[in-house]
Point group: C2
Chain length 180, copies 2
């Protein structure tokens, strides 16, 4: 079956510091026209930092869209042209002060592919060394460590609700299972 | 530590059929001002439909932001005022023709809480009855069944990259493990 939508027109709506918004016109597989609202985002990298006692470094920060403090794995936006592993190392160091001797790539995901062009990449970081955090001047967050098993239980009780955090922790659990 | 950001101003940028965009001014915990780009979305429901042989009903559809066909679990946007379980039953029936005698709620997640106010809710559907799909006139997709174990392997090889699909399948696997 032909599933492809062909772009016929693009109306630029907004170019912000982080996102870009357009309203596009597409031709559907049946030849009819439809509108697609599109948000483009530079993407980001998130990291499950696991110490030798199976504790994960977690951050709590205020998330403006939801007006609440959210428990997440450390993460950040890709700088223009930045390599994803460099972003991972940078964000982990900035938010937690950690450096890692071992990084395994756990894959990437589309946050909401119906309207949003944003990839988030996830790493598992191990063999950690603790240093001092260097937050951006407009970044306010708290760091704590929580056992991986406890975090998986919290996910299954719906107490962890950030997408990249749920994916990172469940993939890390499965990745470690498959190593054993 | 005080982590709260207080809204000082809101500039409405765009109100589309699906998303709403604004640029807000906030007061940070240290008293300085900052800008927050905000996308609001009605949210949606996704469903892991598992038959008695442990196969999952999957859909393939063109995702405009990524210009590619993506393998996903069935899902759809919430209609205004629609109850999430009603949306789950409706979308499952529309996209696959299935009805389910048993629904378990697997929780919800924020797709990208840095800028986007969108929740996606996920159900596990079992005891399925096969009927006829009723797609929206602008919806084009293909349905196929794939064993849950195969899908988990595909996730770990980074071959499934839709966020709600990764979360739904990994949570379903963990949910079923905990039932046994």
């Amino acid at each position: 079956m032909n599933l492809i939508e062909k772009t016929i027109g693009k109306e630029e709506i907004f170019e912000g510091k982080i996102i870009k918004v357009s309203r596009d016109t597409v031709e559907l597989p049946n030849g009819e026209l439809a509108t697609r609202e599109l948000v483009e985002h530079p993407g980001g990298v998130a990291v499950v930092a696991l110490d030798n006692e199976q504790n994960v470094y977690m951050v709590r920060q205020f998330r403006y869209p939801f007006q609440q403090v959210v428990l997440e794995i450390p993460a950040g936006k890709l700088d223009p042209g930045e390599e994803i592993q460099v972003c991972c190392i940078r964000e982990l160091e900035e938010e937690t002060g950690l450096s890692a001797d071992r990084l395994d790539y756990l894959g990437r995901f589309m946050v909401s592919p119906g309207f949003c062009k944003e990839w988030i990449h996830i790493y598992l970081a191990r063999n950690l060394t603790v240093g001092k955090a260097h937050l951006d001047p407009d970044e306010f967050l708290e760091v704590e460590t929580i056992p991986l098993d406890t975090l998986i239980d919290m996910i299954m009780r719906d107490e962890i609700q950030d997408g990249k955090t749920v994916i990172g922790l469940l993939k890390a659990q499965e990745f470690i299972r498959r190593e054993q």
